[in-house]
Subunit: 343 residues, 2 copies
């Protein structure tokens, strides 16, 4: 499931910030809804879009019930390097799975994961990763799964920052979520990650309730537990791979409306942005470019950035963005601050 | 898809309306939120549930974000006899499908539908009906489908009342939807009917937006039309049969929260009510009983009502309702008025 969004492209667009644009936005404005964004064309495009779509009686006005904005998660709302957080969770769960099924101990790819050999684990092919995801994300009830993810999130730490993963959200994007919501937009996550996984923390971390999280969906099966209580069990059955074309498909299934704005950062988001842009009236499409190795990470391979299996941003996506008029958010140039914990 | 919710049970519960209950509700109250409901235990249970779950600081209080109530559609919010509205739509679409694929003209079950022989059509087995549903509900873009359903709803009439199907909604249930919403509940449809079909009119007819319609889901496929524009095509691929166990499964996928109240009318709703009732705190589960042949229809086979392929309410469901404390809404006794157009 997650394995499928492993091919991204990266784009660097040099955003020449015209001084006049900065002034036009009212730089020292105390009511700036996006204080962690540098003034410039990207910030300006966001503010203009929201202003135009929320002014009644104007050509680009969008009625409140149609104000839908979708955000990819990994690499768009929080850090996805060196590995998707959910994959880290799955690898961490392997010992518990093997304890329940000892026969897996000497079977690949479980054997490699248990060895702790990080180099070998990093080299596991997609097929093996998918097998690990299936083994670690299914077979339990939805309630058990939720409790397990919650417990893991409390203790797991991202090595580079030694902080919980839920602190590695991008401060400028959190401001953007709040800004859209205060302007009457309904904010949705549309992620290649597992829907049930992201829902565990999305409300607390992003202010996005479970019903507004669209993700890769596995089947669940209704049944009765030992005490006769109804329960739903997670099945190894893929209903929707919410990547690439699966993103507009998931949007149709779960929301039933075309978004007016969409944010992504990789090839897995291409179709979501295309679908959003194909609607009438004002539409806003943006891609986050990871071009800041100092404050976060730098990966492409577009624009000469290092290639990456995780969050790939190809030259083709870069060309499409230029051609269709999608904006590119340069972390280096557009974000004053990346994380809330930065001083 | 629709064919699967063809086995219901019907229950008649004789609701002895204690005069004191009537007075307690303040019968001649001008602010009665449910004016089309007769006073009695059912109405009282609804009012009590809403009062208790919305009073901060009390034991049964439910925070606003958790206030989810789900409604089956066919037979619960609108008329389902003598045939589900969506099946009528599909049968009406057969000539258009055959025009595009003339080779179907002499092939069953299309031949029978084209013959117009109503008795023979009524006898078509489920397998044939499913074939007709697949042929008439897939192959077009989601936009084309929406436009076609809209056009059909404008002209199609229910024979008994010679009125558009969208006028055959139950007035007491419309009041209930409004009452729940004004009490901070999010109202969802959870229907065995096709999600895309119901979404076409749910907002206008019930005030329920597309993202709050959970139904039987067919797959859609992302692609590009002749003009290169992105589009979604409806595929003959069943993702979720939103009946029976599929209802709690669909609720989990689409809402991600357990409802606090659920309304249904047939065996297809049993698991949704079980799942709702298995939660902690105050929960409200109700089944509509069609026991009024004069104003609407009467069918069971529970409680000696005539058996029915459409909206079956078995003795087993009746027993489970009694055992679990689910209320039964008697159309005959609990509804002062069935339709808005009644004088």
């Amino acid at each position: 499931m997650l394995a499928r969004f492993s091919r991204f492209l990266t784009l660097v667009v040099v955003l020449a910030v015209a001084p006049s644009a900065g002034r036009a936005l009212g730089q020292p404005n105390t009511t700036d809804p996006l204080p962690s964004w540098n003034d410039g064309p990207v910030k300006n495009a966001i503010l203009t879009f929201v202003r135009e779509t929320t002014q009644p009686g104007t050509a680009k006005f969008v009625p409140a019930e149609d104000r839908v904005v979708t955000f990819d998660q990994d690499g768009t709302l929080w850090v996805e390097h060196p590995m998707y957080t959910q994959v880290v969770y799955c690898l961490d769960r392997v010992p518990a799975v093997v304890k329940q099924k000892p026969e897996l101990k000497d079977v690949e790819p479980f054997k490699t994961v248990l060895s702790g050999d990080e180099e070998a684990i990093a080299k596991l092919p997609m097929k093996d990763l998918e097998e690990i995801l299936a083994a670690t994300l299914t077979g339990m009830t939805t309630e058990e799964f939720k409790a397990d993810v919650k417990a893991w999130l409390r203790t797991a730490r991202h090595r580079r920052w030694n902080r919980p993963y839920t602190e590695l959200t991008y401060q400028p994007m959190l401001e953007l979520l709040t800004y859209f919501r205060s302007s009457g937009f309904k904010t949705y996550i549309v992620t290649g990650g597992g829907q049930d996984f992201v829902r565990v923390y999305a409300e607390k971390v992003y202010g996005i309730p479970p019903e507004q999280v669209v993700g890769t969906m596995g089947g669940v099966k209704y049944g009765y537990g030992r005490d006769g209580r109804p329960e739903l069990t997670k099945e190894p059955k893929l209903l929707l791979n919410d990547n690439n074309g699966g993103k507009p498909e998931g949007i149709h299934l779960m929301i039933g409306r075309r978004p007016y704005a969409a944010f992504g950062n990789s090839t897995g988001d291409r179709e979501m942005l295309e679908y959003t842009g194909a609607g009438d009236g004002a539409r806003l499409m943006m891609l986050v470019l990871h071009d800041d190795a100092t404050r976060e990470y730098a990966y492409g391979p577009a624009q000469g950035l290092p290639d990456s299996k995780v969050g790939t941003f190809t030259l083709g996506l870069y060309d499409e963005a230029k051609q269709r008029g999608w904006s590119v958010i340069s972390i280096k140039n557009d974000w004053k601050r990346v994380f809330a914990f930065e001083k």
